[in-house]
């Protein structure tokens, strides 16, 4: 979607126009009442489900959830996946060429926030003829977008599904993000964000950033179960090469990520996370911030998620209760830490199926 109406960002910067790439699954019904927006987290994209004919390996990041007969059933719902503004999968972002120039934005792309993403998504909703979403759903940073939808456009969202999320980051969360950012910024190939002009990519920084991130996505117990102290070579090598399997795993994840993700986008996404705090303008009082919401809420957390622990979701739940809003809250036993929201845990998916099944379209 090409949007030619300028967008003023929360930072005060102004985008003259922008492009968003999106995918849809299922069919918008005659009443336009069955549309569901899926919001992605840090590294996600518009490619939510299925695979492309010419690229069978590239399966959508929430394919276990979205599809015919799946919990988010595309026979019932018209599902929309979008790459957020500032992303690196085709939407306008740091990799885009600046209007009236042949150079990429790079570090000059303005910082966009969760609020800006939602504002841009609303333009996409207009474009698709969706006046009101049946639901907006997301995990982690995606859950923040679902929450923000209920605040910025209370009348355009019937159900907000906020999974493994938080109403704002803790100091510890921000600290991890800052380590990730410093890893990228201090990479000699970063060039102040203008690496594209130098024909390089700060892969070392990106790799480190992703490694740190991955530690926070997994639970201690799951790491112990998956890797433990397993040795790569069956013995200690007394070197700084890979000894333990967990090292190999983190390096693999880091390398993979550094091969395709844009560093400026990563920096910006982590800042969007840091800045998100709907209660900020209300003296830190979340209940006051949520007073505007009208949607019904599905909030879920995972017991082993220490990045966005259950207590963070409960903050949202009790702020909703204060406002007498309808909410379902589930605390799911799943061993996989923060990443649980991406898995097809049987109980988790049964909850989603039950909730989505009751949404009238």
């Amino acid at each position: 979607m090409q949007c030619d109406t300028p967008l003023t960002l929360k930072s005060g910067a102004r985008l003259p126009g922008f492009e968003l790439v999106f995918e849809t699954y299922g069919t918008l019904n005659a009443a336009h009442s069955n549309a569901v927006l899926v919001c992605h987290a840090l590294a996600g994209s518009h490619h939510v489900a299925g695979h492309y004919a010419d690229d069978p390996e590239n399966v959508g990041w929430w394919d276990n959830l979205v599809g015919p007969g799946k919990p988010l059933d595309t026979r019932k719902f018209f599902v929309v996946g979008v790459n957020n503004l500032g992303g690196c999968y085709g939407s306008t972002g740091p990799l885009s060429t600046r209007p009236g120039s042949d150079k990429r934005y790079g570090a000059d792309f303005p910082l966009v926030t969760v609020e800006d993403w939602v504002a841009a998504q609303a333009r996409l909703a207009d474009h698709l003829g969706v006046d009101t979403w049946a639901a907006v759903i997301g995990g982690s940073l995606g859950g923040m977008q679902a929450l923000e939808w209920s605040l910025q456009f209370p009348d355009r969202i019937r159900h907000a599904m906020v999974i493994a999320s938080a109403p704002k980051l803790s100091a510890q969360n921000i600290a991890f993000n800052e380590v990730a950012r410093q890893a990228i910024i201090s990479d000699p190939d970063f060039h102040g964000g203008y690496y594209a002009d130098h024909g390089v990519v700060p892969t070392r920084g990106l790799r480190l950033a992703r490694m740190v991130g991955h530690i926070t996505y997994l639970s201690d117990s799951q790491m112990a179960e998956k890797f433990g102290r397993q040795l790569r070579h069956g013995e200690h090598k007394f070197s700084y090469d890979v000894d333990f399997e967990i090292e190999s795993y983190l390096r693999y994840q880091g390398n993979k990520f550094a091969g395709f993700f844009d560093a400026n986008t990563y920096l910006m996404m982590t800042k969007a996370l840091d800045y998100f705090d709907p209660a900020y303008r209300y003296g830190g009082h979340l209940a006051s911030a949520l007073a505007r919401a009208r949607a019904r809420f599905f909030v879920a957390s995972f017991t082993t998620d220490w990045r966005f622990a259950p207590a963070r979701s409960r903050e949202i739940v009790f702020a909703l209760l204060h406002n007498r809003l309808r909410v379902v809250y589930a605390e799911i036993d799943c061993d996989a830490g923060h990443d649980s929201f991406l898995l097809d845990d049987q109980h988790y998916h049964a909850l989603l199926r039950a909730y989505l099944g009751n949404i009238a379209v």
Partner: protein, 207 residues
């Protein structure tokens, strides 16, 4: 009794229990139901009394049941209290045949009357005649209102009408109304601690 008859009887009994509780609520109230199971009481109260509210449950399958029933549920452990729920934020807090499954009886009762001005409690009376007879006969009672074998019961607190009222007195909780029913569902007036199988209370804070 056939399985069908047994189920029909249980459903009838349940509707009867629900009706007792519904009677004590005003239409359109805001209710919190502790240990709400699959949310059928709240659904019933919504349908018959236009009551809105939330259930609180710890059991995963029950939470799923609530969602299927379209009942708003909050999954949390209330043994340590009702943290997060604001003072006087509900018209009634109900605990229907679940108090006996929780350890921290005193805390829960106190918390109920923090969150609402009035609480509704129902529980099986351990001193009911048939239960006494079972004990006298050397066995833990299994009855209509205590339907579990001792080795798989979810109940962890076994108490009587008299015990409960003693505790209320100690906690300065006012008993505003009490109803007791025998196993046939008939209201009991005479010696409820002996003749009542199931007890219902409307409780408030002492003025």
């Amino acid at each position: 009794m056939t399985e069908y008859e047994r189920r029909a009887r249980a459903e009838q009994r349940e509707r009867f229990d629900f009706a007792v509780i519904a009677n004590w609520l005003s239409p359109g109230e805001r209710v919190l139901d502790l240990g709400c199971g699959d949310g059928r009481l709240l659904r019933y109260l919504g349908e018959t009394r236009d009551v809105t509210g939330y259930g609180v449950e710890i059991d995963h399958d029950s939470v799923l049941g609530c969602i299927r029933n379209g009942v708003d549920v909050i999954q949390m452990n209330i043994e340590s209290g009702l943290q997060g729920f604001e003072d006087n934020s509900f018209d009634h807090v109900v605990i229907s045949q679940a108090l006996q499954t929780m350890h921290t009886t005193e805390r829960i009762l106190t918390e109920m009357l923090r969150v609402a001005a009035e609480a509704v409690v129902s529980f099986p009376n351990f001193a009911y005649r048939a239960n006494r007879a079972a004990i006298a006969d050397g066995h833990m009672p299994v009855s209509e209102d205590l339907p579990y074998d001792w080795f798989d019961t979810p109940n962890v607190r076994f108490f009587t009408i008299v015990d409960f009222e003693d505790l209320c007195a100690r906690l300065e909780i006012e008993v505003r109304e009490r109803l007791a029913f025998d196993e046939a569902g008939k209201e009991v007036a005479d010696d409820p601690n002996l003749n009542g199988s199931l007890a219902f209370y409307r409780l408030g804070r002492k003025p």
